[in-house]
Amino acid sequence: MRRPGALRALTPWLPLAFLALVAPLPLVVTDPYWLGILILSMYFALISSGWNLLAGYTGQFSLAPATFAMLGAYATGLLCEYAKTPPWIGMIAAVATSAIIGVILALVVMRLSGAYLALTTLSFAEIARLVIANSYNFTRGDLGLGVPGIFESRVTWYYVVLGALAAVVVGLMLLLRSPMGLYLQAIRDDEVAAASRGVDVVYWKTVSFTLSSAIAGLAGGLYAHFSQLISPELGLLTQTGLVICMVVIGGIGTLLGPLVGAFLVYVLSELLREVGGVQLIVFALVVIVIARFFREGLAGLARRAGLGKLA
């Protein structure tokens, strides 16, 4: 429900305000390790924002967001390795590869929904990961593939990834304010009703899946050049599980949610790393509590406090 209040006028700007809030962090966080954690938080924020477009705004529950990041990472990694292309061409290839594979997969799966869609994308994710892991002569499999770096300074990396994240968030804001945003949300709420009112359901689901894949590809491309070593572990189902936790905890179907969720979950995950695998138990419990009592996540709590719909 939309609530009145002066704060509502500010709501469309909350995702950008959050990014503005984290922008000065390198002034405070000078430890390279923790700067790396923040950069990886933004890597997950990118994937989460893309998955949120598909799951939160279009209602399509894919289990392959981490796979598309892995495909993007390998696209640029393999190009740099074998074709010796400059990284910026590799980055374009990362986005394009994930988008093209995304559109091909979408043409197959977008007539499915619910559990069928989830299982089909899960199968695709495992096949893609195993193909990369077993193509040892080409990808170096589980040993990992070395990728050239771009910047020496982690602070530079921080602002490059932040810039990419801001560009994606602004793009999503504009998209959601366009007719396409209305169509995607209509499909999420009721596919039959959407089709009956002139919305081309399969077409817009395909567009959403492709954009979501492309955003994950961008994240994967950035990750590859930042970490300089990629492996099929990028596409593990646990990585997708982490993305889902981030979106659900932050607030599915909001632009702010995946950003807050990614920073919160990834930083907490690092803080809890010393106590072993307990972080996954903690996040699973938090997801259960949120799914039961606060279905709109942390952004939903902000919304209930009067901060409106696009939080």
């Binding site: 429900m1 939309r2 007719p179 209305l182 169509y183 949300q185 209509a186 999420r188 709420d189 009721d190 039959v192 009703a193 959407a194 089709a195 009956s196 009112r197 002139g198 919305v199 081309d200 359901v201 179907g253």
Partner: protein, 240 residues
Amino acid sequence: MSRVALEKVEKSFGGLRAVAGVTFELGDGELVGLIGPNGSGKTTLLSLVSGHESPDGGRVLLDGHEIQGLSPTRIARAGLMRMFQLTKVFRRMSALDNLLTTGRALGLSRPAAAARAKSILEELGLAPVAELDAGHLSGGQQKLLEFGCCFMVPPRIALLDEPFAAVHPTLKETMAGYIRKRHAEGHTFLVVSHDMPVVAELCIRAVCMNAGSVIADGPTRAVLSDPKVIEAYLGGEGEA
């Protein structure tokens, strides 16, 4: 020329023959009531016209063109809108956005869709709740909203499935008044309803189905007093 025509249309679900060779026409600017007992095939008939079901046999024509097998999206864009028996609104979108989505998807420009939506919200008494999520509206308001979506791009054909069911009398009169107004402007209607007084008052022509077939078709008063129709509803001769 008829806007909608069905020629020997058949549809079965397993062993159940839901629509059994129905031939039926809906003329330009007509306001027709489609009546019949539960399970007589009325909703399936609407689904065959709106593209939600494909016929097993026969032809469905819209403005002279065959439309069987076309998607509901294409049929909606061709000018045929449908209201469902179980209300279908975009629950997490505002009432205004429900209308805007329909208008934009059907080709209206942003200003035209906004103007049309504003007018419909005011005419249906939904203006005060325009900014509320549709899922937060009352059942009657949701019905009105879905009803309003059918009129974002006039003049069109509207298939209304039980629009008056479980609706407060005031809202019912609002809806009936709106149908009369749009009908006077040339809009074509096929209205499924069990509310006989409203059908009798609103529709000039009525069609009655029973067991998948049309058993009566003609002026509403004549159809409502037809012994076959009375028997279909009451299950026995002369009991009405």
